[in-house]
Subunit: 378 residues, 2 copies
Amino acid sequence: MNISNAKTPCLILDKSKMDNNISRMARGLKRLGVSHRPHLKTSKCTNVAEAVFGGQKGPITVSTLAEANYFFKAGFKDIMYAVGINPNKLDDVKSLLALGADLKIILDSPEVASLVTSYGTQNNIYIKTLIELNCDDHRAGLEPLDDETLKTAIILHEGKGTHFMGVMTHAGDSYNCISIKAIETMAEVERKCVVDCATFLNENGIPSPIVSVGSTPTALFAKDLTGVTEVRAGVYVFFDLFQAGVGSCKPEDIALSVLTTIISHKKSLNRIITDAGGMALSKDRGTGGQKIDRKYGLVCEAKSGKIIENFIVGDVSQEHGMVSSLKGDIDFSKYPIGSKLRILPNHACMTAAAHSQYHLLDKNSEEVTYIWQRCTGW
Amino acid sequence: MNISNAKTPCLILDKSKMDNNISRMARGLKRLGVSHRPHLKTSKCTNVAEAVFGGQKGPITVSTLAEANYFFKAGFKDIMYAVGINPNKLDDVKSLLALGADLKIILDSPEVASLVTSYGTQNNIYIKTLIELNCDDHRAGLEPLDDETLKTAIILHEGKGTHFMGVMTHAGDSYNCISIKAIETMAEVERKCVVDCATFLNENGIPSPIVSVGSTPTALFAKDLTGVTEVRAGVYVFFDLFQAGVGSCKPEDIALSVLTTIISHKKSLNRIITDAGGMALSKDRGTGGQKIDRKYGLVCEAKSGKIIENFIVGDVSQEHGMVSSLKGDIDFSKYPIGSKLRILPNHACMTAAAHSQYHLLDKNSEEVTYIWQRCTGW
């Protein structure tokens, strides 16, 4: 199918760009001598996962148990569910373990550690568990050298229902860095957090087989990951305008876009209206706090994917995108009603989530070569 | 199932509140003597549609052809697809007509009118079409008394492939009103726009059987709708924090919420972390430009649905919600890990779209009485 015949709005995935992004990360991590446990929360797609591993079924990270189930069914066994577990989800964890998944969960308190190990004991299972650490006050996690951390590790290590697997953190604050230098510093903060904790626990007789870090910016710009056993990067596979704003990539590297059709010319307002609104693009305004605000997305030619200078999706309603010009009058004759555009998203994870499938373009062609499905829900 | 056993994150729909919202709108429109063609883009759910019509299958409005198909299959025949048509979607329109749908589409240019009537002629069908009008520079639409409008109406009226059905507008700018007085004024602007146009076309020998307006604020506060034949209101069924900010409702009237589980206590940052992040709540920050910024949502007790004073979802990442206190220290002992909260959304349409189903609560009970499915995609 030619891209001009695709029903809109829909997701377009430029396979060449995705493959370049995958290679870049793989080369970087190889140079640093560290394993990769890619976070698949962005694509939620087994085909993308296979592209990341060159057809293999390597270790993965997920953000929901729905993803864990979905990827497990596709043959991915070694799965880290990287959102703090809560007791209500342990039955689902048990089901996955019973099916043969090598599932690892995370938590950040002695209370939850006790609940998990009790649950494991009562159900005659071993639940592989890591401690989530805080490296930047971004989200959750225990402090690396705190007594609470040791207490939690002891519970998991000594408890009959758990295997203590190690420590992990996510330098979410790297998203707020405004220079590559700052990202490099953040990467070292992230590394030091987990390595210090693993050393501290080891000194107390508790080994940490896994010492895990992960964020796309720190994974790309870390200078040294000594002591780290694995990296969990995710959004780099597609990249997005937010990551371009952080400095992780150029806008031209973004592999994901939303194909849309022009439905109206509002000449008096110098505005083109398309059928990709907040529902298709998401309402994520992550670039709003960055040096260059991309509003609801950058606009590209549909076939070439080339960015159209000075065009922007300035506003959206549920099913309408309002494309405006940052400079000068729009030449409406170049963009007739019924013709198509592509929109680069602020945040690939959120934009992809609104859609059920990807339309693959390969080797700069206009032909959709494959439709790849994705997983949704929780 | 008791609400405490529901898997999180998930949508909760308080049926009593929804029924009150439905009754309020029905009473108001009855007093104004005008028909209702509810916009179902918020719920995308046949059960909600049936609640709106008391079990009947009245005329409806939709925002996607996927919704049109979904509601048609459930017995709703009279459907207005209220997003400007583009030529690529006409095959889908034809399919729906062939199945027996009384589908109406909209457009806002002579060019598209010519394409639609040619398509109808070539395919031996009559496509019922309305003209979209601009009343507030919010989005798309022709000017009510413009020559282009008359030209478009003549094409649709005289073309063999189309039935001209009338005029419609949406006062999207009512969302920016900062007083009830301003909404009343906007409602009159909206009414005058369509009625003036219908009169103008009638004077030129073209009757407009449908004269349609629609937005929740204007539908609720219009003083007079003389000349209008139908109103298309949508989000009022659930309401949301944005509508509360506009003045359409109180936060206590909001029928939709996201049930979430507490997964971490970050005491050093006076923060509770839950499993409802940007994916479950949406990243819509509509209240950000209002008098009271609700950040990513107001926090309620899970069982009673009562709003917890001074709590707010201050930030989100993909699968984490960060609940903070606007005033004073959080009493963490009252909100243990594993316990649940409910979050009132900024924008019900966007939040509901992230989920595949609603969990119904009835008569202030904690019991989930039904699971209602919803439609997704395009």
